[in-house]
């Protein structure tokens, strides 16, 4: 934390609060019946998605998953387009063809939209990383997957192939202890999944995923290593999915004590308190961030709602390039 300028720190807080704000607004809009399909809650994931993606530079690539709203925002996907996606509007990245964070891609931003079949994005990010090696570019690719996805075969293949190719790709494992209703104990027999990195001959670490500074410090090291030709890294960020799997899920299978334990570790609140304690954040700047976010979200929702629903006549367009 000491290393960051206070401007940078307030910027981080802004992105985390924006993520929280967009997420909350999505929930509200869903409840108002504005979204034809469901959405995935982001609460508890803000430090991971913001703290890692913020380290990328222009030209780097990112393949986020369904709890990385923060990463989409940080990498330049505007809130308006995100709302429009959930509303199924023309102004969305998918023009109404895909929903919520699915297919929320924009090649000009080097953000790769994902498919449901987890963890496809690991292979995609590896491919982007390979293109950097191929062209001798000084770039990195970053991707995300959950504890659930870590049990899929593709996860193993991608980690191993990345290691063999020494590709500049950073794999961020969001271990939020649940895959839908299935707790970590039913998914694996170990506590820290990052120890698997050793089996690929690459660096792997486990950190507190609610602490944005820890996320940043660790990711920074990995990004620098990758840019310097040091190959891939696995970073396991531990947290808890603070709401249901998706909006329909009350998640009453999560024990109350577990929730309580992690509620105290709310990434946004935690960081705000830290900044306040360090004197970096005062009430005034907090209010100005809040106001900015409120305004941005308001405008974004308006923009999204003004975007038309797609014309059924376009249904069969764009299947092929």
């Amino acid at each position: 934390m000491h290393e960051q300028s206070s401007e940078r720190l307030l910027d981080l807080l802004y992105w985390m609060m924006l993520t929280r704000g967009v997420d909350d607004r999505c929930e509200a809009l869903f409840k108002q019946g504005k979204f034809p399909g469901g959405i995935f809650a982001q609460t508890g994931h803000e430090a991971i998605s913001v703290g890692s993606s913020i380290l990328l530079e222009e030209g780097d690539a990112i393949a986020p998953m369904h709890r990385d709203l923060g990463a989409y925002l940080v990498r330049g996907m505007s809130p308006g387009r995100i709302f429009a996606q959930a509303m199924g509007r023309v102004g969305a990245p998918s023009g109404g063809r895909d929903l919520n964070t699915h297919g929320l891609g924009d090649i000009s931003l080097r953000i790769f939209g994902y498919v449901s079949h987890l963890p496809q994005s690991m292979g995609i990010a590896l491919g982007a990383a390979y293109s950097f090696l191929y062209r001798g570019e000084d770039r990195v690719a970053m991707t995300y997957f959950g504890d659930g996805a870590s049990s899929e075969g593709g996860c193993h293949e991608a980690l191993n192939l990345a290691a063999v190719l020494n590709a500049p790709v950073i794999f961020i494992l969001e271990n939020n202890r649940y895959a839908y209703s299935t707790p970590l104990e039913k998914q694996c027999r170990i506590e820290n999944l990052a120890i698997r990195a050793e089996g690929y001959g690459i660096p792997g670490v486990t950190i507190d995923g609610t602490d944005i500074i820890a996320v940043m410090d660790t990711t920074k090291e990995a990004v620098e290593r990758a840019r310097g030709g040091g190959g891939p890294s696995l970073i396991e960020c531990k947290n808890l999915r603070m709401k249901g799997h998706a909006i329909h899920d009350p998640a009453d299978y999560v024990p109350a004590e577990l929730l309580e334990h992690w509620e105290e570790r709310d990434p946004v609140e935690q960081f705000r308190r830290q900044l306040e304690a360090a004197g970096t954040l005062d009430e005034e700047s907090l209010q100005s961030i809040k106001a900015r976010i409120e305004r941005e979200i308001e405008e974004a929702v308006e923009w999204a709602e003004s975007s038309p629903l797609p014309d059924p006549g376009t249904l069969e367009e764009d299947v092929f390039a």
């Binding site: 109404g96 929903l99 449901s116 899929e152 075969g153 299935t182 039913k186 797609p310 014309d311 249904l315």
Partner: protein, 344 residues
């Protein structure tokens, strides 16, 4: 009206009296079938993601975990390849695994154990692989490209697999019991659009509906509408509309794609001389092509109009309501196409 149709009530042999049957929706019927078969047969077990205490993403396995414990109601990590592989191995050892794929779309993630292992093993060296793969299937609920797919045609092209898609609560139970008792691998797609849409009579007792028999849902002499899954309801609605216009459509619910009830559909088309095949899957290479090709080849001389298909167009399943509506066949579209055929 057709075989296997349940009577409006049933004779209860134990009580010696005639009674009305309980009304269940599709999901309750599936759930009841699982409860009953697991009680009857110790070797039946279910497995998949979140099927245990949680009862499955759609609650199809609700209550099983409490009753049968985690040995027989096995929550797995996310690993379609391994848990279907496990099911294959357990099945060859005499167990009867019923796998749930959370959404049918994810069946492609566990593809090899199904299409390479389960499908070919009996032919290759004689071992039976009696697995059932259940999966909530199809669209109609704005769930987008990856929670709406109808890929039955991938499996109908794999000799050694049976493919079953029931369209009513009654058939859901009866066919699921048949599938579990079948010594072969059975792909069992459940149109999730129908899960909670309406209840109908489902006998309390376990019963089977034979795999391989289609069902005439509505008799008619002017046009055969052949379909399956959620499209059966749409076809029936369309037939109602057309009936008011004086055209009697026969609506056939295939129920089983493999093995196909060739005789029933050939007989129907030979009677009506006109056929419209309707499915929710995309057009090119859908199972409708197989049905059309079969009828064209074997009922050629009986046809007074070209065998026609009404399907989704060749695109991924779009999310936004106006697009999904345009994508998905429905009663209205069936009426329009049927009118053309009737006028041919």
């Amino acid at each position: 009206m057709g075989r296997e149709q349940p009577p409006a009530g049933s004779w209860n042999p134990r009580r010696g009296c005639f009674r009305l049957m309980p009304q269940l929706n599709y999901l309750e019927s599936i759930n009841q079938a699982l409860h009953q078969e697991m009680e009857l047969d110790d070797s039946v077990f279910v497995l998949g993601e979140d099927v245990g205490e949680f009862g499955g993403a759609f609650k199809a396995t609700a209550g099983l975990w409490d009753k049968f414990g985690e040995r027989r109601v096995l929550d797995t990590p996310m690993c379609e390849w391994a848990f279907i592989g496990l099911a294959n191995g357990a099945a060859m050892m005499g167990l009867k695994p019923v796998v749930e794929i959370q959404f049918a779309d994810f069946i492609s993630t566990g593809f090899d154990p199904i299409v390479q292992y389960a499908a070919t093993t009996h032919y290759r060296w004689g071992a039976k692989v009696p697995i059932v793969i259940r999966a909530p299937w199809g669209g109609g609920s704005c769930a987008g490209p990856f929670h709406s797919q109808c890929k039955e045609a991938w499996f109908t092209h794999c000799p050694g697999l049976k493919v079953v898609i029931p369209s009513t609560p009654y058939d859901a139970k009866g066919l699921l019991l048949s599938a579990i008792r079948d010594p072969n691998p059975v792909i069992f797609f459940e149109p999730k659009h129908l899960y909670r849409r309406g209840k109908s009579e489902v006998p309390e007792e376990p019963y089977t509906v034979p795999i391989g028999e289609a069902e005439i849902r509505r008799p008619g002499s002017d046009l055969s509408i052949i379909t399956w899954g959620a499209m059966v309801q749409e076809a029936l609605e369309a037939a109602e509309t057309l009936s008011a216009e004086g055209a009697q459509c026969e609506v056939i619910d295939l129920r089983t794609l493999v093995p196909l009830d060739r005789q029933l559909i050939l007989d129907s088309v030979r009677r009506t001389s006109r056929v419209l095949i309707v499915h929710e899957a995309v057009r090119t290479g859908g199972f409708g092509a197989e049905v059309a090709a079969l009828l064209a080849e074997e009922a050629f001389d009986s046809l007074d109009a070209p065998p026609a298909r009404l399907t989704a167009p060749d695109t991924p399943v779009p999310y936004s309501p106006p697009l999904e509506k345009a994508f998905r066949p429905d009663a209205e579209k069936i009426v329009l196409r049927a009118r053309e055929l009737l006028a041919y």
